[in-house]
Amino acid sequence: MNPTPAATIDSVLGNFSLLLALVLAGYNLIFGAISLRLIATGARTRVHPVRVLETARRAGIACFLAVTVAAGCLVYASFTGDYTVSYILHHTNNALSGAYKFSALWSGQEGSLLLWAWLLAAYGFALRLAHKRDPLLTGYASTILSAIQVFFLLLLVFEAPPFAIQAGPVATDGFGLNPLLQYAEMVIHPPMLYLGYVGFSVPFAFALGALMMRYPGEKWIRVTRIWTMITWLFLTFGIALGMHWAYNVLGWGGYWGWDPVENASLLPWLSATAFLHSVMMQEKRGMMKSWNIWLIFITFFLSILGTLLTRSGVVSSVHAFAESSIGGWFTAFLVIAIGVCLFTYLLQRSHLYSEHKLESLASRESSFLFNNLLFLGACFAILWGTLFPVISEYVTGSKVTISTPWYDRVVLPIGLGLLFLMGIGPLLPWRSTSLQSVRRNLILPGLATLAVAISMMAFGMKPWADQSSFFSIVAFSVGAGCIVAIFTEFQRGVVVLHKQTGKNYFTSLILLARRNPRRYGGYLVHFGIVVLFIGIAGGAFNQEAEQTMNTGDSVNIGGYKVVYQNMTQDSNDNYQSDFALLDLYKNGKKIASLAPERRLYLATDQPSTIVANHSTLASDLYIIYAGKDSDGQPVIRILLHPLINWIWIGVLIVLLGTALAIVPEYKGALPKAAAKPEGSAA
């Protein structure tokens, strides 16, 4: 009997490199802070403080190496099946395929914290490499990041060690990975989401650093904005992948359940979106400086709060993380972070005085104000809904549930308000404006909105009948207005450039996007959001059928005919499957064979459904093999989801637009009409 097995090389090296990373991050934090202080006060020292700051920066880079080695050790342990490591024993097994062995890295508490620490170090690495442009600001940002890094490494070393050794004899096989996580999307969804969460540390560090050093001028806001955009891109992608996974895997036919874990990912997304809008006020007009800095702070706090809420067991969630003691750590960290931000702000707020005034309510500026109001309103409402069960239990002693119907009533109207603003905002010119020009700009989109609303009602939609038809009619009509508004913006810009340069319309469009990628990328994002809303609004037309089927039985739904043929079985080392074989007919013609599946995972003895989905742009026919009835006949559940694919298309457009908006603008002179070709410009 050997109670604790000898430590393997991966666990020794893993543990050691985490400890080393902690030392290096600690060095970066302490000596970075000291040297920055010395530089700020201009004190004379034996060693030049800039030299010390340089070693701190390098310690940060070395920390990345050390955390990388630790993460590598965990992956290595997973691939080699080192079951002396408790984490590997609990999250993998021999039959697991390669990609999922890799994803074991983030399928549990300890591993996902390690991933978090690694991504933070990677962001820090990128930031510290690009320090030459603005060494002092980068020095501040690097030191602030190292403080966050120290927190995560402390957690990994003392509270949630990923390389803890499993007591008792070494197992020959692991307990396996949660079958719900064995999907392609689950290999990329968590890293993307974490890239989003963790990434907000970077703009946070820049903003706090700029405030601490009283950065002269406004250039720092640009760096902060670009990092926020990159992070926002990842977070959006991560959330969308999660939705797609929920839709395809959980087999309940929905993509968003307002679960605390989902809400937690939406909170920083909303506040970051608010920031990306109001930051334009600062860059263009020098307004709302304090507000912007707090938006960035809040976004960071929310990304930490989300983790705190979902991992500490404060709110109950269907997501897999077990209750654990890390809640206290996160609370302490959050309190310290808020304290530091508040203190710095109070000390330095005179630096954030804004010089411009608002000329008119009908200007772009005021639409940004309303935009921020609604984004933060949505943020607050979701936070309130997530926390209310806890608050209610504390106040009244009895727990209540806040579920989808509540969010539909409270948050959806705010979403539609935002959609409405999205149509109007970009049409309002900057600074003051007369109502006359506003009217002129709004006529076409307004007409489109009305036309769609009227024609939908003519086709029998009753907005007063129930909530979902009301919301869908508003979404479709306002969405149409938005699309017209966005299209007009592009068309106007292209015409101006066409006149100016004499280039054809297509070239003008490219030129337009290159001259101001941020604006036109932004419009593309807006367009994607409208498409996404249209996909969501399609949910008002969902249809559903559930039936026990014998061979030859059929179900008619949404113009499709589903005919049951028979059952079949299959198995491999990892799971056993039951398939129901169905034929799909449309207009009397067979168009597809579908095979919804039920799996039983052998390592965990957990069942799982694999949905068969006949997906077109018009609708998804989503078929679930719900199980067998008492006679052994399969129960088939069929859901028709109109327009749902537009959600994913909308997300892709949003991602594309964001990527475009990050591209630096082309600053050369424009080619003149009837002059030399473009090549001679610049």
Partner: protein
């Protein structure tokens, strides 16, 4: 044994990199008043270009456009005046800025 060897190598690598003596120091110059003014001038210029663009795109009525252009031009003129005065005092710095500007 090999585990400790690898650990030692990692340790040495990290510390050697961190404390390896550096040649020249990257000391940040303080931003001069001139640079600061140039930054602000660029913002006002960008706003003016935007205004021109939006006007040509048909988003402003003529009167509104003229009034706003006048305000922004006054703002820019004020900055340019200050820049000119400072540049006259320190031609070398102004020339250096010009070459580094776009």
């Amino acid at each position: 044994m090999s585990a400790f060897l690898v650990c030692a190598i990692l340790l040495i690598l990290c510390f050697a990199y961190t404390f390896w003596p550096t040649g020249q120091l990257l000391v940040q110059r303080n931003k001069s008043q001139l640079e600061f003014l140039h930054e602000r001038k660029d913002v006002v210029y960008d706003n003016l270009r935007d205004l021109n663009f939006e006007f040509r795109a048909g988003k402003y009525p003529e009167a509104d456009y003229n009034a706003q252009r006048a305000t922004l031009e006054d703002e820019a003129a004020e900055l340019l005046r200050k820049i000119d005065i400072l540049a006259a005092k320190d031609p070398a710095a102004a020339a250096a800025l010009k070459t580094s500007a776009r």
